[in-house]
Structure formats: structure tokens, C-alpha cells
């Protein structure tokens, strides 16, 4: 009776390989994670608690030495008025981008889901199209459209005898920058919400119609609550993207004198690291930004899952 024994040892071999297999499949992920995530994060933490000390006149091989700095860099980062101003600017920018983009995305998704609206296929493609345009190119295109000598807005206002505003100055600069993000992001969020809307079972719509709901009531009372998880997700992505704004203000800089090199916190990090040559300050600032992002993200995720759980329990 060797067959059963053979098969049982084969099974044992199989189960060992089955136990080892997931680690094998995850090996490339693990290697890349260690090399390009864990190591850089560790290195950034290390750099953030070091500083360059100048000895004597700072000349010769012993003139500059890297020494332990403790929380010095963090203290400097948190009291740096440039960084705080940048954070406030991004807050103001985000206060425009997030609600307007989310509102438009939801609005257009509901229109796409409404049978009585014509041109839905065209509208869907056109509004999603900016997703295919890189942020740098989007900023470049809008940047030219903002220039008073090119802007159609200037032409239109002058035609009726009104003074044209300089879109790249003062408060309108926030609107100008927000517009680029809204233009680029609305379509993507719209598609996510629209896909969720399409997944609502037909009988739900049917029941609402039989109960005499108007399309507006159906949208407000049935559709929006049912796609809430998608709204939460897109909201979350929008906030993260806002905190990390870099490409658009950097691209617009050549077209206006009103954007400093430290307009957003991320630009400040780049400035410190590569122009100012202070990698220790840059590392500390980057760690602070990461901590703020993580705290906000996890707090938000916790809120969202707590809400889901409450709803699950209520059902």
C-alpha cells in the first residue's frame, strides 16, 4: 500500500509549497518596498535629526561636520513663517478645490444617470477627457488663457467696456490655480460616482418611481445616500491631492511674478533641499507634511469606517 503514503507525502509537499508561495509572490513587492519606501523614509527621519555644524572658519576637510541635532530642525520647521504661510495658502486653495470639484462631479454624475438628458455619451467623454492631460500641460494651457493679452475673458470684458482683472494676481490667483485642479479632476471623480450610480439595482429606481418620487427627490433621497462610499473615497483622494499640490503652481511661475518658490509646503521642501542646499531642514519639513497627511487620512478613514459600521449595525 504505497500509493496512499506517496500521495500523503505529496500532499505535505504541496502544502509546504502552498504555505511558502504567497511569500514568493510578494517578494518583488517586499524588495521594492524596502528599497524605495522604507529605506527613504528611514533616511529622511535620520536626516531630520541631523545638522551641519561649521567649525572654526568652515574651511578645510574638518570645517563642516554633520552632527546630532535633536528636534532642532522640527522646531525650525514649525516656527518657519514661510512654511506656515504656505500651509495657509494650500488651505485656502483646498477650500475652493475640494467642495467645487466634488459638487460638480456629483452633479454631472447624476446628470449622466438621468435618462431624460441628451448627449450623455458625449458629455461623459468630454468631461473625463482632462484626466488624460498631464497636470503640467493643463497648467501650461490655462496659464496662457489667464494672460491678459491672450485671455478671452479680457477680450469679452473690454468689448463691453469693463476693466479686466489680472487672473494671476491677489485673490484671483487662488481661483486660477483651483480652476486648473477642478478642470483636471472633476471628470475622474464623476466617473467613479457614476459607476457607483449605475450599480444601483433597477428595482430601487422602479420602487421610487412607483412611489411618485420626482427625479430630483430620487437623486437626493435615494441615489446620493447609496453612492456615499464612493463620495467618501473621492473626497479622500481630493484632500490628499490638495495637500500635495506642486506641479500646477510650479508650472505657472514663469507666467507670473506672484508665485513664490515656496508657495506650497511641497515647493518649500524642494526649495530647501535643492536650491537652499539644506537637506536637513527639507527632511524635517517633509516629515511634518507626511505626519499631517497621515493623521488627516487615518482620522478620516476612521470616521468613514465608523460610519459604515454604524450603518451596518442599523440594518
Amino acid at each position: 500500500m504505497s500509493a496512499p503514503r506517496g500521495s500523503s507525502s505529496a500532499r505535505r509537499r504541496r502544502s509546504t509549497s502552498a504555505r511558502a508561495a504567497p511569500y514568493g509572490f510578494l517578494a518583488p513587492t517586499a524588495v521594492l518596498f524596502v528599497l524605495f519606501f522604507a529605506l527613504p523614509i528611514g533616511y529622511a527621519l535620520y536626516l531630520s535629526v541631523r545638522k551641519v555644524e561649521i567649525r572654526g572658519l568652515g574651511l578645510g576637510p574638518d570645517g563642516r561636520a554633520e552632527v546630532w541635532a535633536g528636534l532642532d530642525n522640527y522646531r525650525r520647521a514649525l516656527t518657519d513663517s514661510e512654511l506656515l504661510d504656505g500651509a495657509l495658502r494650500v488651505l485656502g486653495y483646498g477650500a475652493i478645490v475640494v467642495p467645487v470639484m466634488m459638487g460638480l462631479a456629483l452633479f454631472f454624475a447624476l446628470l449622466l444617470d438621468d435618462e431624460r438628458v441628451r448627449g450623455r455619451r458625449f458629455g461623459r467623454l468630454a468631461i473625463f477627457l482632462p484626466y488624460a492631460v498631464p497636470g503640467v500641460i493643463a497648467a501650461l494651457l490655462w496659464g496662457f488663457l489667464y494672460l491678459p493679452s491672450v485671455s478671452p475673458l479680457t477680450d469679452a470684458l473690454e468689448a463691453v467696456g469693463l476693466p479686466a482683472p489680472d487672473l494671476l494676481q491677489g485673490a484671483s490667483l487662488y481661483g486660477a490655480l483651483a480652476n486648473i485642479a477642478i478642470w483636471g479632476g472633476t471628470g475622474f471623480n464623476m466617473i467613479v460616482i457614476y459607476t457607483a450610480l449605475r450599480a444601483i439595482p433597477a428595482e430601487v429606481h422602479e420602487a421610487a418611481r412607483l412611489d411618485g418620487c420626482t427625479p430630483f427627490q430620487t437623486a437626493l433621497r435615494i441615489k446620493i445616500p447609496m453612492v456615499l462610499p464612493s463620495l467618501v473615497l473621492t473626497f479622500f483622494f481630493s484632500i490628499i491631492a490638495t495637500l500635495q499640490v506642486f506641479n500646477e503652481p510650479t508650472t505657472l511661475r514663469p507666467l507670473t511674478n506672484n508665485l513664490s518658490t515656496t508657495w506650497s509646503p511641497l515647493m518649500k521642501v524642494y526649495q530647501d533641499a535643492f536650491t537652499g542646499g539644506d537637506i536637513h531642514a527639507a527632511a524635517a519639513t517633509a516629515v511634518v507634511i507626511a505626519l499631517v497627511t497621515l493623521t488627516l487620512s487615518f482620522g478620516f478613514l476612521r470616521l468613514a469606517t465608523a460610519r459604515n459600521r454604524r450603518e451596518e449595525n442599523a440594518r
Binding site: A10, A18, R19, A21, P22, Y23, F25, L26, P28, T29, L32, F36, F37, P40, I41, Y43, L47, L111, E115, R116, V117, G119, G123, L129, Y131, A132, V133, P134, V136, L140, L145, V150, D155, T186, V192, T195, A196, P201, A202, E203, E206, P229, S230, L233, I240, F246, N247, T250, T251, P254, L255, L266, Y270, A273, A283, A286, I289, A290, T293, L294
Partner: protein, 301 residues
């Protein structure tokens, strides 16, 4: 995409009756919402329409003629762009295609392996690994990019194609998508049955799971392709030799030089048009293959 087909059988008869009733009376068109949707479409097409028109203007017409009045200089502009520094523009386009094509393909492969392992195996550390990866999504690129630059500089890899390719190969978001899709598309029983038949783990993945995962992987590939094509911060930090620039960085430097040499603006605009057109065409062709249900949590298991 799935809404009409998922309707329960009980509702089908009622739907059919309604459908014939709807067909008999002319469908009402909601004018105001239709107008709103078209207005949104116009807003989104406006900059694209502008760049198409502006690329036809000669340098002196750019700031003097009406915004949407076409000029007659398109061919001159294109040949100027071709001639600019021995056609470095096309070099940038080729670099972008290389970074995005190879980068997306490799990162899609890594995501497929990782997502498959996380979806179909129960093993110690599974949730920890997944959570650590997810935290990676939330990591601002700059906290990674600056130390990545310094570390790559240690091994003399900065200012190389590898410096732009290697850091994008691991995509936590791609693994997340691959995991959700695999959990929904590859039945555990099928894998179990193959294992009973004595099929090796790698062969099960290659021959059985991979074909089932393919539609989801197309989505992962496209996401990565667009993300890498649009990437700016990483090449901006890593590269100094403009022969290795992707198109985003190339156009940015051209725009930067334009603020002192306005003649370059025409090149920037023509370059932007030629960079956007293939992407839009590609996008129109492939947008039907996207399974965005993945994102909205609408995947049915």
C-alpha cells in the same frame, strides 16, 4: 455597466411592460439638465480647443489676434519644433513613452503577483503587509522623492533612466486594485481544485488565475501608465540631463526659458498640442476597457 443586467427576474416583467409604454409615448427631454451637461463639456474642451487654435498662430499673432482666431503658421510651428535643438522634443516624447510603457508594464506585473497573494492565500502577516502597503499610498511623494534622490545618488544612479523607472515600480494603489479584482474574479474553489490535481502554485497563477485577472490588470496598467506619463516631481528631482527628460519636464523647461525668450512660447504651445493629441486619442480608444467599478466599490463577488 452592470445595472440593467443585475435587475432581479421579478422586476423584468414590469420593466418590459414599462419599456413598451415608454416606447409608445415620446421620451421627455430634460432641457435644463442637458444644457448644464453640455456647458460642462464645453468647459472641459475649451483649453484643448484653444491649444489647437493657438498652435496655428505665428509668434507675433499669439498675443495680438483674438484668442480663438486661427492663424496660418501651424506647419512653420511644427517644423520649428522639429528643428529645435535637433528635435529634442521627439526625444522627450520617446522618453515619456518608455518611462510610462515599461514602468506601467513592470509595476502591473508586481501588482498582479502581490494582489494575487493577498487575495487568495491566508498566511501570517497578510493584513499587516496589506496595511503597511496602504499607508504607502498616503505617503506624500516628496517625503519619498528627496531621500530617494539622495540614496540613488549614493549608488550613482541619479540622472539616469533607472532613477525615474525604479521608484515607480511599486504601486500600492495598483496592488490594492489587483487584490480587490482578484478576490472578485478568481474563485477560491478553482484554485483549490487545481491544487488537489497536483498543479504547482506558480502554474496555478500563470495558467489559471492570470487569464481571469486580465481585465482588472488592464485597468491597473492604464492607471499606472497615466500616472507615470503625468509624473513631474520625480523626474524634476532626479534628472538634470535634458536628453533624458519626459515630455512634461521638457515642456516645463521650455516654458521656463520662454519667460526670457518669448519666441519659445510658440514652440511650447505647439509642443503641448502634439503631446496632448496622442494621449487623447489613446484615451478615447481605450476608455471602454477600463473597469472603474473597481474604484467605486461596485465590484460584485
Amino acid at each position: 455597466m452592470s445595472a440593467p443586467t443585475t435587475s432581479a427576474n421579478t422586476a423584468n416583467t414590469a420593466n418590459a411592460a414599462n419599456a413598451t409604454a415608454d416606447a409608445r409615448r415620446p421620451r421627455r427631454i430634460a432641457l435644463l439638465p442637458t444644457a448644464a451637461l453640455l456647458l460642462g463639456a464645453v468647459y472641459c474642451l475649451l483649453p484643448v480647443a484653444w491649444v489647437a487654435i493657438a498652435a496655428t498662430k505665428a509668434g507675433n499673432e499669439l498675443f495680438s489676434t483674438f484668442t480663438f482666431a486661427p492663424g496660418g503658421g501651424l506647419l512653420d510651428n511644427v517644423s520649428d519644433l522639429n528643428g529645435y535643438r535637433d528635435g529634442i522634443y521627439w526625444r522627450w516624447m520617446a522618453n515619456s513613452a518608455l518611462y510610462a510603457g515599461i514602468g506601467a508594464l513592470l509595476s502591473c506585473a508586481v501588482s498582479a503577483l502581490g494582489g494575487y497573494a493577498l487575495a487568495l492565500y491566508r498566511f501570517p502577516g497578510r493584513e499587516t503587509i496589506f496595511n503597511v502597503l496602504l499607508a504607502g499610498v498616503l505617503m506624500p511623494p516628496v517625503i519619498l522623492a528627496v531621500p530617494q534622490y539622495l540614496l540613488l545618488a549614493e549608488v550613482h544612479l541619479t540622472d539616469s533612466h533607472a532613477a525615474v523607472l525604479l521608484p515607480v515600480l511599486l504601486s500600492p494603489f495598483g496592488i490594492y486594485l489587483a487584490r480587490i479584482y482578484t478576490a472578485a474574479a478568481v474563485p477560491q474553489d478553482v484554485v483549490e481544485a487545481a491544487r488537489m490535481d497536483g498543479t504547482g502554485e506558480w502554474r496555478i497563477f500563470r495558467a489559471i488565475a492570470l487569464p481571469m485577472m486580465l481585465p482588472g490588470l488592464v485597468t491597473v496598467f492604464l492607471f499606472q501608465f497615466v500616472a507615470i506619463w503625468n509624473n513631474f516631481l520625480l523626474p524634476y528631482i532626479m534628472l538634470s540631463d535634458d536628453e533624458k527628460f519626459p515630455i512634461t519636464l521638457g515642456l516645463f523647461t521650455l516654458l521656463n526659458q520662454g519667460s526670457t525668450t518669448p519666441a519659445l512660447y510658440t514652440l511650447v504651445i505647439t509642443g503641448a498640442l502634439l503631446a496632448v493629441l496622442p494621449l487623447i486619442l489613446l484615451f478615447l480608444v481605450i476608455q471602454r476597457f477600463w473597469s472603474l467599478d473597481l474604484l467605486s466599490g461596485a465590484v460584485k463577488s
